[in-house]
């Protein structure tokens, strides 16, 4: 066991971890960060993508199944759960995935959104082809990628030109009021912009 401290979505955690524990398993099983998911065991699918700071403090996309928890010691991680702003406004990429129907089952979505955020960080105005190549490490079985590409394009517009041009999501769909009560499953810092699952 090694003691590691990792900041995840703005919160400091200090835990004893086995040297072999993968970051994604540490996030999911020890920290309850189950928004980040596992889709493969060969680092091919990208479902587990999160942002991790490097030695200089710059955040970069990593596949959290390809990083050991101990390698993340003293780093800062942002997962899909920490992507929204402090007032729980959606990140432009999240909003664009919703607007452009860039998800169906949604299982690839946490990783796909984080990979798209990472892509836009490096290239704020990618062409369609650059988006397709930039997301090559993330598999989606549902969408045929078309609306994902569209979403990333739209997000890049919004990030560069500000939100004014982007349609805000209908408030009723994303507002916290008027929803069914929480399911009681483990969840951390649920922002208002969430529709909890009615079951279980």
């Amino acid at each position: 066991m090694t003691r590691v401290s990792i900041k995840v979505d703005g919160v400091d955690y200090e835990d004893d971890v086995e040297p072999r524990t993968l970051l994604v398993h540490h996030l999911r099983e020890s920290l309850g960060k189950v928004g980040t998911v596992v889709g493969c065991d060969t680092s091919n699918c990208g479902a587990c993508t999160v942002l991790m700071s490097d030695a200089d403090g710059h955040q970069q996309g990593v596949k959290s199944c390809a990083v050991l928890a101990v390698q993340a010691a003293d780093r800062e991680i942002t997962t899909i759960e920490g992507l929204s702003g402090p007032d729980n406004t959606l990140h432009p990429v999240q909003r664009a995935f919703h607007e452009a129907h860039g998800l169906q089952c949604g299982f690839c979505t946490p990783g796909m959104i984080m990979a798209a955020v990472d892509l836009l960080r490096e290239n704020s105005d990618p062409s369609e082809q650059e988006i397709r190549e930039g997301l090559e490490g993330n598999l989606c079985r549902c969408t045929g990628y078309q609306n994902i590409v569209r979403a990333v394009r739209a997000a890049s517009e919004e990030i560069r030109h500000g939100r004014a041009e982007a349609e805000p999501a209908p408030p009723s769909q994303l507002a916290g009021e008027d929803q069914t009560p929480d399911s009681g499953l483990p969840r951390q810092s649920v922002p208002d912009e969430t529709i909890p699952q009615p079951v279980p």
């Binding site: 060969t42 999240q94 919703h98 089952c105 079985r141 994902i148």
Partner: protein, 786 residues
């Protein structure tokens, strides 16, 4: 009734929880005291288990229990097959954990329960198993030859069944054999549908809680209702003591239309240990043990006159079942049987299919299930006929297809096609595609001997959605019906809860169903909550597969809404002090006909029945209504897909330059969702044409057992698709909708392969085996044939 919602591209209700990482996948369910299961799987394709010792696993840290198939032989039951397609179908027992013999690589042989996932995985390595290898049966034709080694020695044959449809015998058409004997032209081809893996992105996962009054199972399944029923039957547990929950499910594509060994193992383990258990497969386990799809050899004979009129079709299939019969596996080719005649007026047809056992993972439904195979074969061979006769491939099609004024049209299979306009969809597709220009460019490249040749592929498809009229399913020996249910509950505040028997796993039913209800009841889209996937709230239903949810469940929902309005009518009349017969219901308001003022809304009625202080005599104080709908027919969407490929004759590489899909799926509820379904479907069909194949080596080892080797297309591998629609409303559906879940997959594979072959025709190429990898294409160019 307003119609502001139906047809509008509503953004999905489901998204909020999915884009923020706050949904519930089965893998996220964690219960107090929960144990984690790991499964030891057979490394061999076929072997006798001579000894197995799980005790070393018990000595591993954190392990609570370990058992082999022998340890649970009396309680684990046998996995069900719901579709014994013939009376004499061979249906071998299939224990969830193998007892004496393993019959495919990846079959479960032992299970460990431990306090952590890691401990369980460590412990399975300690289990000692001795195998005596047996010969692996892999090739279907060898499997059915005289003296072949057997997958199931006790059954005496590898042939599971032979199922025949003959239009002469059925009285629905002529004699195909005679048509072929008398034909002016006969085209004979063999097509091979390679083995595919559905590869939903969420690995299968199951949690069982035995600690309450009932057994609760969470499962990443498409079929919570069918699963509940079969769990009860297979394990002998009273049905009312079993609750199944399918929370958010990360894709299925038919791959989660199964009752799995893993579900039964978890159920048996939880029952035995008295503690909650969880099992989540790794991707490698998923690829080898979750059911595969396709794997069919098709021998096709098409008879025609020299003017291009088809006079008969004979189809002979060998369908690889894998080592056992899956839940609906034997029936998959039968679903295709009715689609080989496609959109055409063929007068004579014979279909014969044998299901064959091999020492491989079972096959079962995969997006399209039988219909992509049929569509591929017919759309490929129509091109061959066109080449043989020197006609344009679209011309050959239009000479044979059913014309718009001929609907409803009873086909040579006896199905009544409901509606459609093939010419209209084709014209629209040609226009969007720039068909004539691309043909010109093709000619120019041929003339100049360009090393990159252009090919144009056509696929004019139809399919049958809305599985299915229960009577038809019964006649086909399917074990269940095809009805669907919906309940609409009016809450006192006027909000609406809808319970559906469908079980979405990416299709957006919460959104589309809300749109339907909002329009019917005149309530706000956001005032509707759709509940599904928990047999406690949705106790009855037949789940989601076969593009049936909207086509069947949508009608149940519509009918339930109408009943709610009928229930409210006397109450509104009572409040308005008029005769119910004088009321009309529009825009969510009951009004006295001809009087635009002073109506009563459904919300008013809901509150009135909640209080129930002043209701007319004899009126039950509720507006709620249930409906169960059994379809009277299938629905038959259709469309024309056109694909242009650039084929590099020097490297064999194929680039899709343009892809146009014009689909006619009847009336559209949500165009955004429909486009998404079409995109994803096309991607999966292209994947079959170009990228994916599950490969076994000569010993029966799966060589494509990870995502490194089983190559799903990435964003960079796929083009942008141009989509459009024509609209022939479904006459049997009050909303006119047909179904769209599988259309893209059914249509796209032949469009792509036709395009590749079309590019290489001048080089004498008339077929390339799928997937059309650069190597295969290059070889075809070199050899002039595949």
């Amino acid at each position: 009734m307003t119609t502001t919602e139906i047809g509008s591209p509503r953004r999905r209700k489901e998204d909020a929880r999915l884009i923020t990482g706050r949904t519930t996948w089965t893998e996220n369910v964690t219960l107090p005291g929960m144990l984690h299961l790991a499964i030891l799987r057979s490394p061999l394709a076929h072997a006798r288990i001579t000894s197995i010792d799980v005790s070393p696993a018990l000595e591993t840290k954190g392990v609570v229990a370990a058992f082999s198939g022998r340890d649970v032989a009396d309680v684990q039951g046998s996995l069900p097959c719901a579709w014994p397609v013939t009376e004499d179908m061979v249906h071998p027992d299939r224990p969830p954990i193998a007892v004496d013999e393993v019959r495919f690589m990846g079959e479960a042989v032992a299970v460990v329960a431990a306090r952590s996932r890691a401990a369980a995985l460590d412990a399975i390595a300690a289990i000692e198993v001795d195998y005596e290898p047996l010969p692996a049966v892999l090739d279907m034709e060898q499997a059915i030859a005289e003296g072949a080694d057997l997958v199931h020695a006790g059954k005496g044959t590898n042939k599971g069944y032979t199922w025949v449809f003959d239009s002469a015998e059925a009285g629905t058409g002529g004699d195909a054999g005679a048509a072929i004997d008398d034909a002016e032209v006969v085209i004979r081809r063999r097509y091979v549908q390679q083995r595919l893996i559905p590869a939903f992105m969420e690995p299968r996962s199951v949690v069982v809680d035995p600690t309450g009054d009932v057994y609760t199972m969470w499962s990443a399944t498409q079929i919570p209702h069918i699963l509940r029923f079969l769990l009860a039957v297979v394990t002998g547990t009273p049905e009312h003591k079993v609750r199944v929950i399918a929370p958010d499910v990360g894709g299925g594509f038919g791959g989660k239309l199964q009752v799995t060994p893993e579900e039964l193992i978890a159920f048996v383990a939880a029952k035995r240990l008295g503690k909650p258990v969880k099992y989540t497969e790794s991707r490698s386990e998923s690829l080898v043990s979750a059911h595969h799809g396709r794997d069919v050899i098709q021998d096709i004979e098409l008879a025609a006159r020299r003017d291009g009129t088809v006079t008969g079709l004979r189809v002979k299939l060998l369908a690889n079942m894998g080592a056992y019969m899956g839940l609906v596996g034997p029936g998959v080719p039968i679903l295709g049987a009715f689609m080989y005649n496609a959109i055409y007026k063929f007068p004579a047809y014979r279909f014969e299919c044998s299901g064959v056992f091999t020492n491989t993972t079972i096959t079962d439904a995969y997006r399209g299930a039988g219909r992509p195979e049929a569509t591929y074969a017919i759309e490929r061979i129509m091109d061959e006929l066109a080449v043989e006769l020197g006609l344009d491939p679209l011309e050959v099609r239009s000479r044979n297809w059913i014309n718009a004024d001929e609907f409803p049209f009873t086909t040579v299979c006896g199905l009544a096609y409901d509606s459609g306009d093939y010419a209209k969809a084709t014209d629209r597709a040609k226009e969007l595609f720039g068909y004539d220009e691309l043909r010109q460019e093709q000619q120019a490249r041929r003339d100049s001997g360009d090393s990159v040749q252009l090919g144009i592929g056509i696929s004019t498809y139809t399919e049958m959605c809305g599985l299915a009229p229960s009577r038809v399913l019964g006649a086909l020996r399917y074990g269940a019906g095809g009805w669907e249910t919906a309940s609409v509950r009016m809450l006192p505040t006027g909000r609406v809860e809808v319970v559906t028997g469908t079980s979405p796993h990416g299709q957006g039913h919460e959104t589309a169903w809300s749109q339907i209800v909002a329009d019917q009841l005149g309530v706000a889209f956001d005032d509707v909550e759709v509940l599904h996937g928990d047999t406690r709230t949705s106790y009855k239903g037949l789940d989601t597969y076969g593009s049936r949810s909207l086509a069947v469940g949508g009608i149940a929902l519509y009918n339930a809404c109408q009943k709610v309005i009928e229930n409210a009518k006397p109450i509104a009349a009572h409040m308005l002090e008029c005769d119910p017969a004088d009321l009309e219901f529009t825009g969510g308001q009951f009004r006295v006909r001809g009087n635009p003022d002073g109506g009563k809304s459904l919300a008013d009625c809901a509150l009135a029945v909640f209080a129930a202080h002043d209701l007319p005599d004899g009126i039950e104080p509720t507006l709620d209504a249930d409906a169960v709908y059994d379809p009277v027919n299938f629905s038959f969407p259709h469309g024309t897909h056109l694909c242009a490929t650039e084929v590099d004759t020097e490297t064999g590489s194929v680039t899709i330059r343009k892809y146009v899909a014009v689909d006619d799926i009847g009336r559209v509820i949500n165009p955004l969702i429909v486009d998404g379904q079409v995109h994803g479907g096309i991607a999966q069909g292209i994947a079959q044409a170009l990228f994916e194949e599950a490969v076994y080596d000569a010993d029966g080892n799966l060589m494509t057992g990870t995502f490194v080797d089983y190559t799903l297309p990435t964003a960079a591998d796929l083009p942008a698709f141009v989509t459009d629609r024509t609209e022939s409303p479904a006459p049997d559906h009050p909303l006119g909708t047909k179904g769209v879940g599988e259309a893209g997959t059914i249509a796209s594979t032949p469009a792509v392969v036709n395009a590749i072959v079309d590019a290489l025709r001048p080089m004498g190429v008339n077929d390339i085996a799928m997937p059309c990898t650069p190597e295969r294409v290059w070889r075809a160019v070199q050899g002039g044939a595949a």
